[in-house]
Structure formats: structure tokens, C-alpha cells
């Protein structure tokens, strides 16, 4: 599934949001790919990702690196989250040199990804865009909450948990950073960006107006 697409936001608040992941194609280059995916994780870890994981084992908040490495299988999808263009370009450069033969996908701002790819001597092969959210959007939480929850494409981060974190931070029970880490835990793949979440959460905490749901019939588009 498109588990790292549909991360709602705008070019300004998506500048530090990058997911790089690798996987094999089932039935084609699947056999023996676990070792190559472990190498992918090795390379990613040398560039200090803020989160990482493989849904079969967990994320950086719920599993150790050793557990993750050991848990990688031929069918795994291994993810790492970065916060800067320089890191992404460096990871891509190292992945190109490693020539693992595995498919590598970067989820992030498209134009900047193109620049990262160029710096690594790569191009974009296939690209996927979101066209937004259609239908009964007035039944969704507010857009600022969605910018946080949509960082887990499998929908494991509940809007109710975001609301609870906002309350806990306001009451002084949690720091914004610890609240963001709590939100990252349910995202089993490790694609949740807790740095961006902390920033978005801080804005929600400071905001006096309610994060109101969209109007009936309103398509949630990207700008």
C-alpha cells in the first residue's frame, strides 16, 4: 500500500520529512534479499535517521537495532526517516555505490527529491502523487491533527491520541517531545516523523482556536 504517501501538509512544514525505504519484488528478486535489506539498514543507520523500522519487528521506539536486523526477512520493507535534504542525498549516494539491486523509494517533497537524486547521480524512475482526500471529509478530525496522524499511512496513530497528547502537554504532564514520541510508537513501520510531529503538536498546544473538521463536501487538497 501507499503507506508513506498522503502525508498531509504544505511545502513549508514538509521540508524536514523524508522516508527512505527498500524492498524486494516478490517472485523476482525476493530470494536472498534479506541480507541486502540488512545492508540497506546498515547504510541508513550511518546517516542517523530519527526513526526506522520494519513492520514485522517494530520501530526505533519499540525494538532494538539488533532485533530489527535479526528480524529482516526476504519479504520485509525496511524504512528510515530523515530530516534533511543533505542526509537524503548522502544516503542515496551510498545506496547507489552499494548497488544492492533492491528497489529504493524516497517519500518527500518531489522537487527536492529530484535535487537529492541529482546530487547522488540518480534520476526518478516512477512517481506517485496524492490527489487529496475526497468524500465525507467533515467526519474527519481537523487538518492540523491530520497532518500528524497521516504520518502513519496504516492509520495506527489515532486522532484521539493526538488530542490526549495536546491535553497532557497543556497540563504539564508531558513535554512536546515526549508526546511526539508517544505518537510515534503505534506506527509499526517506523515511518512516523516525531520531529515534525513535535513541531505540529506545539502549534496545536499553543493554538487557542479549535482544530475544526473540514466543511461538508470539501475535498482536502494539497497546496
Amino acid at each position: 500500500m501507499s503507506h508513506t504517501l498522503h502525508r498531509l501538509g504544505n511545502p513549508e512544514n514538509l521540508t524536514d520529512d523524508w522516508v527512505v525505504f527498500a524492498m524486494s519484488a516478490k517472485g523476482i528478486n525476493e530470494k536472498g534479499s534479506a541480507e541486502k535489506l540488512r545492508k540497506f539498514l546498515d547504510i541508513a543507520l550511518t546517516h542517523d535517521p530519527i526513526n526506522y523500522g520494519d513492520m514485522k519487528t517494530g520501530n526505533s521506539f519499540t525494538a532494538t537495532v539488533d532485533d530489527l536486523v535479526e528480524g529482516i526477512q526476504d519479504v520485509s520493507i525496511v524504512h528510515a526517516v530523515f530530516t534533511s535534504e543533505d542526509e537524503v542525498a548522502a544516503v542515496l549516494r551510498d545506496l547507489k555505490a552499494a548497488d544492492l539491486g533492491m528497489s529504493v523509494v524516497v517519500s518527500g517533497l518531489v522537487d527536492t527529491t529530484k535535487r537529492c537524486a541529482g546530487r547522488a547521480g540518480l534520476g526518478q524512475h516512477t512517481i506517485e502523487y496524492s490527489l487529496g482526500i475526497w468524500g465525507q471529509t467533515d467526519r474527519l478530525p481537523g487538518e492540523r491533527t491530520l497532518q500528524i496522524t497521516t504520518m502513519c499511512g496504516h492509520g495506527m496513530v489515532a486522532a484521539g491520541l493526538v488530542h490526549k497528547m495536546v491535553k497532557d502537554v497543556r497540563r504539564g504532564k508531558l513535554s512536546v517531545e515526549n508526546a511526539a514520541a508517544e505518537l510515534a510508537r503505534p506506527c509499526v513501520c517506523g515511518v512516523f516523523n516525531q520531529y515534525r510531529a513535535a513541531r505540529l503538536l506545539a502549534a496545536l498546544v499553543a493554538s487557542e482556536d479549535e482544530d475544526a473538521p473540514p466543511s461538508p463536501g470539501q475535498t482536502i487538497s494539497f497546496t
Partner: protein, 245 residues
């Protein structure tokens, strides 16, 4: 999932972690319950480990409720696709598989996302709409395996009332035919009892351009500034260079 009323301490810690709001406190009975119609069996509440008394309990599911779990819990693997999650490898491995060809657009309609959930009754409204355009549903996609009639887009009647966190309808279509279908999806979206997140995929041209973008923008659609970029590092098993020969 169920909550054992005998052991539940009514601490309410499980309420906020449910992605679909299926856990609630019923004031008349003073019980915390899971609405079995809304629960999509994703097990987020169980994995959150918030229950101090072990009252949150898994139950063995039978068909067709088992669908809720495989479409909602990413830790489970679909037997059709052998990958975790709700869709396919789609563009993630296109550099190897060559699934998306030049001149085509890949479309994925993910019903229920983000976090609202969807019944297969709503999924069927979309599959019927798409089938009317003569598309071929992606054979590896788990929803395709629930179609009773792939020509008409009807879904097995016994699963229609099952609710899942999300379900994806996937197919490829020639770019020239895509706009009419997208307009029909826009129309049907108003008749659904849920939302869908919509995505489009295309092979990047050798000069770096993406032909569908101008067409989409001209129709008032707004492709996201962020997207998924397959970097072409996979060992190809498909000869892209041979296209058009």
C-alpha cells in the same frame, strides 16, 4: 477485540488509542465496551499495552470478520500478495517489475483512509464505478480477490457489511481515459459513507517530466507537493527501453 467487563478497571486509558473510536464508556451501565460494528480488528489497542488489568482481549475471528483483521492490521500478511498492508507493491518496485508502463496512469482509491474506516458496501460503489470504464482490477490486490464479478465490479455479498480501516481499489488506465474516470470518482465520492485518499502514479519520462501533471492541474486537481519517488535502483526484470519498439 473485546473488553472483559469482569477485569476492566474503567481507567479509560484505551479510549484515545483506538484509530476509529470504537471503544467507549457507556454511562448507564458504567461499562467500557468495544462497538463490534465499528471495531476493525486492527489491534492497535492491544499493542498499545495501556490496559493495566489485561481486560482487552483478542478473540478468534471467523469468516468474513477475518477480513477486518487482514485489511486493518499491518502485521498480518495477505495470502494473495504475500506483503503486509492493504495493497500491493505498486510503484515501489516498478523499476524491477515494469507494472506501470509509459502512457499509463496508475490509480489507487483507498477507502476509509485516513482513519475513518469503510465498509465493503462503500468499496463496491467505487469498484462498480471503475468497472463501468472497462478497467482491469489489479490482480494482486486483495480487494480484487473479493470481487464476485470483475466485469461489473460487484463484491461478494457476504462481505459487504464488513468494515475495515482501509481498502484499496487499484488499476492502471491509459492517460487519455483517466480524466473521465476521475470525474466519476469525484461524483461517487459524494454518495459514500466514508472518505477516500486518492493517488496517481506514472513513469517518469527520460527528460524528467511527468506527463499527467499538466493534465491534472488543468482540470483543477492538485497533485501533492510531496510524493513517493522510486529511485530506479532495483535490478530491472523488465525492459523499459523496449517500449514503443
Amino acid at each position: 477485540m473485546v473488553i472483559d467487563p469482569a477485569t476492566c478497571e474503567r481507567c479509560l486509558k484505551c479510549l484515545p488509542v483506538c484509530p476509529v473510536g470504537a471503544i467507549r464508556f457507556e454511562r448507564p451501565t458504567k461499562q467500557v465496551v468495544i462497538d463490534q460494528d465499528l471495531c476493525v480488528e486492527c489491534e492497535v489497542c492491544y499493542r498499545a499495552d495501556v490496559c493495566p488489568s489485561g481486560a482487552l482481549q483478542r478473540v478468534e475471528l471467523s469468516w468474513p470478520r477475518t477480513l477486518r483483521a487482514v485489511f486493518s492490521n499491518p502485521l498480518l500478511i495477505h495470502k494473495e500478495t504475500r506483503i503486509p498492508g492493504r495493497g500491493t507493491e505498486e510503484m515501489k518496485t516498478n523499476d524491477v517489475t515494469g507494472r506501470f508502463k509509459r502512457g499509463q496512469i496508475g490509480i489507487a482509491v483507498e477507502l476509509g483512509r485516513p482513519g475513518l474506516s469503510a465498509s465493503f458496501r462503500d468499496v463496491e460503489k467505487v469498484t462498480k464505478t471503475c468497472a463501468a470504464h472497462g478497467i482491469q482490477f489489479e490482480p494482486q490486490n486483495p480487494v480484487t480477490h473479493l470481487l464476485k464479478d470483475r466485469i461489473r465490479g460487484t463484491i461478494l455479498p457476504e462481505v459487504l457489511d464488513e468494515r475495515v480501516l482501509s481498502a484499496i481499489v487499484e488499476f492502471e488506465i491509459e492517460q487519455t481515459a483517466a480524466l473521465v474516470l476521475l470525474k466519476d470518482l469525484q461524483a461517487i465520492s459524494r454518495e459514500l459513507d466514508t472518505v477516500f485518499s486518492l493517488n496517481v502514479t506514472q513513469l517518469v519520462e527520460p527528460d524528467g517530466s511527468v506527463p499527467m501533471l499538466d493534465m491534472l492541474r488543468a482540470e483543477g486537481l492538485s497533485p501533492s507537493p510531496n510524493g513517493k519517488n522510486n529511485m530506479g535502483l532495483g535490478q530491472p526484470a523488465y525492459d523499459f527501453g523496449a517500449e514503443g519498439e
